[in-house]
C-alpha cells in the first residue's frame, strides 16, 4: 500500500438531527486520484466538504481526519491553514470579478506576499500546472469573467494550486462543462497527481474510470466499497456497487 495523504476514521456528519453520513473510514493514498462515487444524496459531497472543514457552519462533523498525524477535525485545529493545505475546487467555476493574474495570486496576496517577482513566478507556475498558461499568457490582465467555462474552471484550479496545497478536493469539477473542457481538465488532473493528492466527487462513471486510481462507492451515507478503480469497476465485491455501476439505481 502506498503512502497515505489523509486518513478518515469513523466520520459522521449530521445536519441538525438528520444524520447524512455515518461510520466512514478510509485512507486516501498520496499522489493518487481518488474518486468518490454514489447516487445523489449518498453523502459523497458531504464527506468531501468535511475533509477541509468546509462544513463547519452547516453541520456537525464527528470522527477523526488525520493529516500528517494530526486530527484536523479537532476544534483546536486552525481551519484556515487546513484549507490552505487542503484546497478545494467547486462544481461551478468561481472566478472572482478580477483579472486573471489577480485571481491566481488571490490567496498569496492575502497571505501578505508583495514581492512582484515571486507573484509573477507563482502565476506562471500555477497556470502551467493547470494547463492554462499557453491560452492566457498574453491576456493576464484582462477579466477572468471573459474566459470560457472550462478555462474559468482551470483558472480556479490554478488559483488553488497557487497556495501550494498538498491535497486538492474537487466537487464534481466538470459537471458544468462541455465534453472538450472536461477532457482537458481530466488530463490536467492526471498530470497534477505527481505533485499532489486529488480527491474528487463525481457522478460521471466514465470520469471515475478514466482518471481515478482509487474509487470509493458510497450509498445512503455509508461507505460501501473502496478499492483500486479497476477492481471496483471490473470486479465489485458488493452487490450494491454492482447494481449502481450497472445503472440499476442512481
Amino acid at each position: 500500500m502506498e503512502k497515505t495523504a489523509l486518513e478518515v476514521k469513523n466520520l459522521a456528519v449530521a445536519y441538525g438531527t438528520k444524520k447524512v453520513v455515518e461510520q466512514v473510514s478510509l485512507k486516501f493514498p498520496a499522489h493518487q486520484i481518488t474518486a468518490l462515487i454514489g447516487a445523489s444524496g449518498s453523502g459523497k459531497s458531504t464527506v468531501l466538504r468535511s475533509l477541509n472543514r468546509m462544513n463547519d457552519d452547516l453541520a456537525t462533523v464527528t470522527g477523526e481526519i488525520n493529516f500528517h498525524g494530526i486530527d484536523i477535525n479537532q476544534p483546536k485545529a486552525n481551519v484556515y491553514r487546513v484549507r490552505q493545505q487542503i484546497g478545494m475546487v467547486f462544481q461551478q467555476p468561481t472566478p472572482f470579478p478580477l483579472s486573471i493574474y489577480e485571481n491566481v495570486i488571490y490567496g498569496l496576496r492575502l497571505a501578505g506576499e508583495k514581492d512582484r517577482q515571486v507573484l509573477d513566478a507563482r502565476v506562471e507556475e500555477s497556470l502551467r500546472q493547470a494547463a492554462l498558461w499557453n491560452e492566457v499568457k498574453d491576456q493576464l490582465n484582462s477579466s477572468a469573467l471573459a474566459l470560457s467555462g472550462g478555462q474559468q474552471q482551470r483558472l480556479c484550479i490554478a488559483r488553488t494550486l497557487a497556495v501550494r496545497p498538498e491535497i486538492i478536493l474537487m466537487d464534481e469539477p466538470t459537471s458544468a462543462l462541455d465534453p472538450v473542457s472536461t477532457s482537458q481538465i481530466e488530463d490536467t488532473l492526471v498530470q497534477l497527481k505527481e505533485q499532489l493528492t486529488i480527491i474528487m466527487v463525481t457522478h460521471n462513471m466514465q470520469q471515475a474510470s478514466r482518471s481515478a486510481d482509487w474509487t470509493a462507492f458510497m450509498h445512503q451515507g455509508h461507505l460501501v466499497e473502496f478499492n483500486k478503480t479497476a477492481e471496483i469497476f471490473m470486479n465489485p465485491q458488493e452487490q450494491q456497487t454492482a447494481d449502481y455501476l450497472s445503472g440499476k439505481f442512481g
Binding site: 477541509n52 468546509m54 457552519d57 484556515y80 491553514r81 487546513v82 484549507r83 490552505q84 493545505q85 484546497g87 478545494m88 475546487v89 467547486f90 461551478q92 468561481t94 472572482f96 470579478p97 488571490y106 490567496g107 492575502l110 477579466s143 469573467l145 480556479c156 488559483r159 488553488t160 497556495v163
Partner: protein, 293 residues
C-alpha cells in the same frame, strides 16, 4: 351578464378609476413643481431666511439638511454595515438572532415622532447636547439604521454563496472573505441603499423639530473650524432643516411670503429627492452594464 361583457365592463371601470387616481397624483406633483419652480433661483438658494419680512432664501436650511445627511451617514453607515454583516454572514439561526431581527424590524416601524421624542429625552436633555446638529444626526441615525441594515443585508445576500465558498476554500478567514469578496460584490446594492435612505433623511422633519431645533443661529461660512461656535461646521449648534422650515413658516405664519418660501422649498426638496432616486438608478444601471460585459 355574460362573462365577456363583465370583462369589458370591469376593465373599463378599473382603467377609469386608475386613470383618475393617476391624474390626481400627477396633478399633485405638477402643482408642486409649477408653483414651486418659479421661486427657485440662485438668490433663493443662496440667501439667508428672514424671520418677519418677505424675500428670504433658504441658504442655511439647505446647507443644514445636506450637512445633517452627511453627519447621519457618517454614523449610521459603518454601524449598519457591521450589523448587516453580522446578520448576513455570522448569525446562526437561533432565538437570539430572531430577537435581534425582531428588534431591528420594530425599530424600523416606529413613527418618526416617537423616535424624535426619545432623542429629545436622551440626547438633548440627558446628554446635554441641547438642540443641535449632533442630536439631530443621532436621531436620524436611529431612524436610518433599520432601513440601512435591511438594504445592506439584502445587498450582501445577493452575492452568490459560491464566491464565499471559493474564498473559504483558499483558506481565507470569513471576515476577509466578507471584506474582500462579498463587500465589493455587494457595493452597488450598498450604495443604492445609502442614497435612497439619504433621501429619506433629507426630507425628515418630525424627528428633528425637538432635536436639531427650529432655528439657525448666524453662522460664518468662512470658518472651517468645527469647534468654533460660529462655524457652519460646528455640530453643536442648532439647525433648522429645509423640511422643518416648511413646517415652521406655515404653522407660525410670521413670514409674509410664507407661501412663496414654502413653494420654493418644497420644490427644492422634491428635486433633491428626485436627484437621489435618479442617482441610485444610474448606479444600478451602470453596474448592470458592467456585469453584462
Amino acid at each position: 351578464m355574460r362573462p365577456e361583457k363583465t370583462d369589458k365592463l370591469a376593465t373599463m371601470l378599473i382603467l377609469l378609476l386608475a386613470g383618475i387616481t393617476g391624474l390626481a397624483v400627477l396633478a399633485f406633483l405638477a402643482y408642486l413643481l409649477v408653483t414651486g419652480l418659479p421661486h427657485v433661483s440662485w438668490h433663493f438658494l443662496l440667501s439667508p431666511a428672514k424671520a418677519f419680512q418677505s424675500g428670504g432664501g433658504i441658504r442655511d436650511q439647505l446647507f443644514n439638511s445636506l450637512y445633517l445627511v452627511v453627519l447621519t451617514m457618517l454614523v449610521s453607515v459603518p454601524l449598519a454595515l457591521c450589523a448587516a454583516i453580522y446578520l448576513s454572514e455570522y448569525a446562526v439561526q437561533n432565538r437570539l438572532t430572531a430577537a435581534i431581527r425582531l428588534a431591528v424590524e420594530v425599530l424600523g416601524s416606529l413613527p418618526s415622532v416617537v423616535i424624535g421624542l426619545f432623542g429629545y429625552l436622551v440626547f438633548v436633555l440627558q446628554f446635554g447636547l441641547d438642540f443641535s446638529l449632533l442630536a439631530g444626526a443621532l436621531v436620524l441615525t436611529i431612524l436610518n439604521l433599520p432601513i440601512l441594515t435591511r438594504s445592506f443585508e439584502d445587498a450582501l445576500q445577493q452575492v452568490p454563496t459560491l464566491q464565499r465558498q471559493a474564498g473559504l476554500g483558499l483558506g481565507m478567514s470569513k471576515w476577509r472573505v466578507t471584506t474582500k469578496i462579498v463587500l465589493p460584490g455587494a457595493l452597488p446594492g450598498i450604495i443604492t441603499g445609502m442614497i435612497l435612505s439619504a433621501g429619506r433623511v433629507f426630507g425628515e422633519a418630525a424627528a428633528l423639530i425637538y432635536t436639531a431645533g427650529q432655528s439657525t443661529p448666524a453662522v460664518d461660512y468662512g470658518n472651517w473650524n468645527p469647534f468654533s461656535p460660529t462655524s457652519f461646521l460646528n455640530p453643536l449648534r442648532p439647525a433648522e432643516t429645509l423640511a422643518v422650515h416648511i413646517w415652521k413658516v406655515n404653522s407660525e405664519g410670521l413670514v409674509p411670503d410664507a407661501r412663496a418660501v414654502s413653494n420654493g422649498a418644497a420644490a427644492v426638496l422634491i428635486i433633491t429627492i428626485l436627484l437621489f432616486n435618479l442617482l441610485a438608478r444610474l448606479i444600478g444601471y451602470l453596474v448592470k452594464r458592467r456585469f453584462a460585459k
